[in-house]
């Protein structure tokens, strides 16, 4: 059994798998340790598929914009899987004046970062997506946003990384990290101790316990989110959809089915089962919300509803960072439910950081030690 490598990555979601892939591409040896029995079993296989720049905190924009320009367009070809990436824009919808205020603020901030996003009115929205109801009074529109299939993309990175010799161990839960002589060195699992001078923690919410153990605190909570999927419907629209309150999002897939996520408002109070459990209220609540936006979907049959956990950061922003105070330790977590679209870019930049000490995109705003009090 292989227990040492140039880099050990903890977590085999989109972030862990893409990091491992890009490292392997640079000729480095990599071991990926996944606690569950499955690759991509966390948020990577449960999210709404958004690949969007708009609606993000400006701190994430440099990385995300870089990703949309440099990674997504050629990803299917590179991985040899159909990521189903479609760059047909993102409508973030507003139903009230308050919503429009939120969207305008987000838009203005994003424009300052160089993103091509703008506010549009109700009739412009209807032109782009004629299926939306009259409830929508306006939206932000970003033409370079889109969506993709998170399942095939995550597994595609895994497949390609494996082809390049990356060693994946599943059912291999990491219990703690140890430093040796002040540098990161050991990754402890029940069955073996893995050793490397470079460790990447990309384990979603579970990153918190591991990092706490070496004195690094990323302020995250584990929050449940739920999604649903319909049967295949005739192709209706191609944009990624979201809302000002981020309470509803989704898209129509290549297959024809619609994937939608939503909120009941009680997610935070759910009983914490190890396996994210569906609630009895989500699907009905989400259905009503969807029908309000898309009356035409009222007869669409829902075939499945599922749940997942997001690692919600105190400031709702991802953490993609070298941990300076522990040489050799890197973290990619706290994606707060919007990690899929930015995941591959995070993986690429972290790989570059490890290999060369530099990153092509500016990830300074995503540092692990950015958390300051308000006063």
């Amino acid at each position: 059994m292989k227990t040492t490598a140039d880099v050990i990555v903890i977590g085999a979601g989109i972030v862990g798998c893409s990091t491992a892939y890009y490292l392997a591409k640079k000729g480095m040896s990599v071991i990926v340790l996944e606690g569950s029995n499955y690759i991509g079993n966390g948020g990577s296989s449960r999210n709404g598929g958004g690949v969007r720049q708009s609606g993000r905190n400006p701190k994430e924009l440099p990385l995300m914009i870089w990703g949309v320009k440099n990674i997504w367009p050629s990803l299917s070809e590179e991985l040899g899987v159909d990521t189903e990436y479609k760059q047909k824009g993102n409508l973030r919808l507003g139903k009230t004046d308050r919503h429009l205020e939120i969207l305008t603020k987000l838009t203005d901030n994003a424009v300052k970062c160089g993103l091509d996003v703008k506010m549009i009115n109700a009739s412009e929205v209807k032109e782009i997506n004629p299926y939306l109801s009259d409830e929508v009074i306006g939206a932000s529109w970003c033409a370079t946003d889109g969506h993709a299939n998170p399942l095939t993309t995550t597994l595609g990175f895994y497949k390609k990384a494996r082809e390049l010799g990356v060693q994946f161990y599943t059912d291999c839960s990491v219990t703690m990290l140890h430093t040796v002589s002040g540098k990161i060195r050991q990754v402890i699992t029940p069955e073996a101790v893995f050793e490397s001078d470079n460790v990447v923690v990309a384990a979603g919410f579970e990153s918190k316990t591991l990092l706490d153990g070496v004195g690094i605190n990323i302020p995250m909570s584990k929050v449940k989110l739920e999604c649903l999927v319909t049967e295949a419907e005739p192709q209706m629209f191609e944009q990624m959809l979201g809302t000002a309150d981020a309470d509803f999002y989704g898209h129509q897939t290549k297959h024809g089915s619609f994937v939608f996520g939503g909120h009941t408002g009680y997610e935070r109070y759910a009983i914490d089962y190890a396996n994210p459990c569906s609630s009895s209220s989500f699907a009905s609540c989400a259905s009503r919300g969807i029908m309000k936006y898309f009356p035409i979907l009222k007869d669409a049959k829902i075939v499945r509803a599922w749940a997942g956990f997001m690692d919600e950061c105190a400031d709702q922003v991802a953490t993609v960072s070298k941990i300076d105070e522990i040489p050799g330790l890197y973290v990619e977590c706290s994606f707060t439910g919007h990690g899929f679209g930015i995941g591959p870019a995070a993986g690429y930049n972290t790989a570059e950081l490890i290999a060369t000490g530099k990153t092509p995109a500016d990830i300074q705003p995503l540092r692990y030690d950015r958390f300051k009090t308000a006063i």
Binding site: T152, L155, Y169, E231, S278, S284, K301, R304
Partner: protein
């Protein structure tokens, strides 16, 4: 601990690789076998990669068959293949119905 690089032998094309196994999503035996060799060792991974089990019957017809094929590629018993999960609604239900909850 599960070594995902363990040697399961090469992919040997079979005479019935174009047999449809998942009728709802039209996934063939060959596609499933090939997916195992691309690293998909468990039912959830196969389902997410190929869509078998995602159709209207949610795997009621094909799950058993897919399990057997995956097990054969991995040289293990079918009962040792990690199963996929089940989620509601267990029958496809219209949005208008799901949203139509009786008053408490």
């Amino acid at each position: 601990m599960n070594d995902r690089l363990r040697d399961i032998g090469p992919f040997v094309p079979g005479g019935d690789d174009d047999l449809i196994i998942c009728r709802c999503e039209e996934v063939t035996k060959g596609e499933i076998r090939q997916a195992v060799h691309e690293g998909m060792f468990t039912m959830p991974e196969i389902r997410r990669y190929l869509r078998c089990g995602m159709g209207l019957c949610q795997g009621q017809t094909c799950a058993r068959l897919v399990k057997g094929i995956v097990a054969a590629e991995l040289h293990i018993a079918s009962s040792e293949v990690e199963p996929a999960s089940s989620r509601g609604p267990v029958r496809p239900t219209e949005m208008s119905t799901l949203g139509n909850e009786e008053e408490a």
